[in-house]
Symmetry: C2
Subunit: 226 residues, 2 copies
Amino acid sequence: MTLLRTSANSAAQRIPDATVARLPLYLRALVSLADLGITTCASQELAERAGVNPAKLRKDLSQLGSYGTRGVGYDVEYLRYQIAREIGQTQDWNVAIVGAGNLGEALSNYGGFTTRGIRIAALVDVDPVRVGQHVGSLTVSGFDDLESVVASNEVSIAIIATPAAAAQVVADRLVACGITSILNFAPTLISVPKNVDVRKVDLAIELQILAYHEQRKSLAETVVGP
Amino acid sequence: MTLLRTSANSAAQRIPDATVARLPLYLRALVSLADLGITTCASQELAERAGVNPAKLRKDLSQLGSYGTRGVGYDVEYLRYQIAREIGQTQDWNVAIVGAGNLGEALSNYGGFTTRGIRIAALVDVDPVRVGQHVGSLTVSGFDDLESVVASNEVSIAIIATPAAAAQVVADRLVACGITSILNFAPTLISVPKNVDVRKVDLAIELQILAYHEQRKSLAETVVGP
DNA sequence: TCGATTTTGTTCTTGGCTTCACAAACTCGT
DNA sequence: ACGAGTTTGTGAAGCCAAGAACAAAATCGA
């Protein structure tokens, strides 16, 4: 039993995590270039728009294959398609949001998803009062119906937007439904089987990190003097 | 002109970024231990609750100083205080949110901030219709009044929760107000002077990264067979 | 056709972070 | 008082990523 790779993906057996995290950035830059009618672009220009070092950009792209032309640069449309294919943006991904509080509601109304292959397919909540209410074009589903909601909408990615106390229970149920990709906004650690990917967005921690640096700045000022 | 350090901070001239990002995690774990009435804790236990490797935890803590006791572990209350002091959680940090859309509103109602030394002090929007409206205990201020809002509330950290198109303009105004720490939710690169810290939370990219891994999983299944 | 110029793809070096492994230091029971 | 058992703090090794630097490959003008 041999592991086959598509020819287009020949260069890279496995793309580094750091690179994967930047590919959507490049894609975004390419889309804006295309919108400006620019058809060709050097790594210098593209890197600037993505906010990274040109060498890093070229190294990242070389992980996918050799899509540039020396002396010329990259074809915007072609590279855009290649990256989109690599990160799976040629298809739409259905996402379910669990927790229809302020955050869940904000996420389901967030405009930035649709153009990036992300479709918010369902919004789920435990609160019976919330169930049946309309949020944008969605109707809130009950947590008890999670299985059927996931199945009928072909959901493959879930967002946890509940309070911390509920996060683990929700995660367990999601895993039981066959979900293997979770974005967790609850400020707590959730444990899942190792085949499940969890990414965490912790709003309080982001601010705490900024506060730390802010404190350092004002401390430095005090010590060094005016 | 000598750079002085407080005695408690003697061990570390500069704490690695990776460590700083984890300190709030440890702090959270310590708080929950304290709530359970646990007064002493080994690195093994604490690391598990924070979701990290015990060795990493010990090395992180050793950056702050030598706060443990060999053969015993860490005193929960003492360590908690030391970390809180290090990351500046002994004082409250006033935060202004720019952009009173769905996301800005959700953030200003988010409960997880207050217990972590973060106080949402102001909510600002350009839309004249929005100005004056109440969101939770806050009243939406006008973007034109940004300077006075920042000054009167002693705001030191700002959150950009506007559409991408507005982000750079907002960032420039914030910098002009003297803000040196920004949390950017807009899906775009903002450029700021190098003394300003910017952290970025990009919701679409988080989902795109999950989609990439999800695609890989289903691809692997197809190639390897059932 | 050929040299000059441009720009990619890649090699190599450097630095930071993670993890292991163990000595140092503490407690406890006898 | 002392040996057995625990647990920290840290030195060393390995890994991954960032950036510099350069050879390879393309275009363009004469």
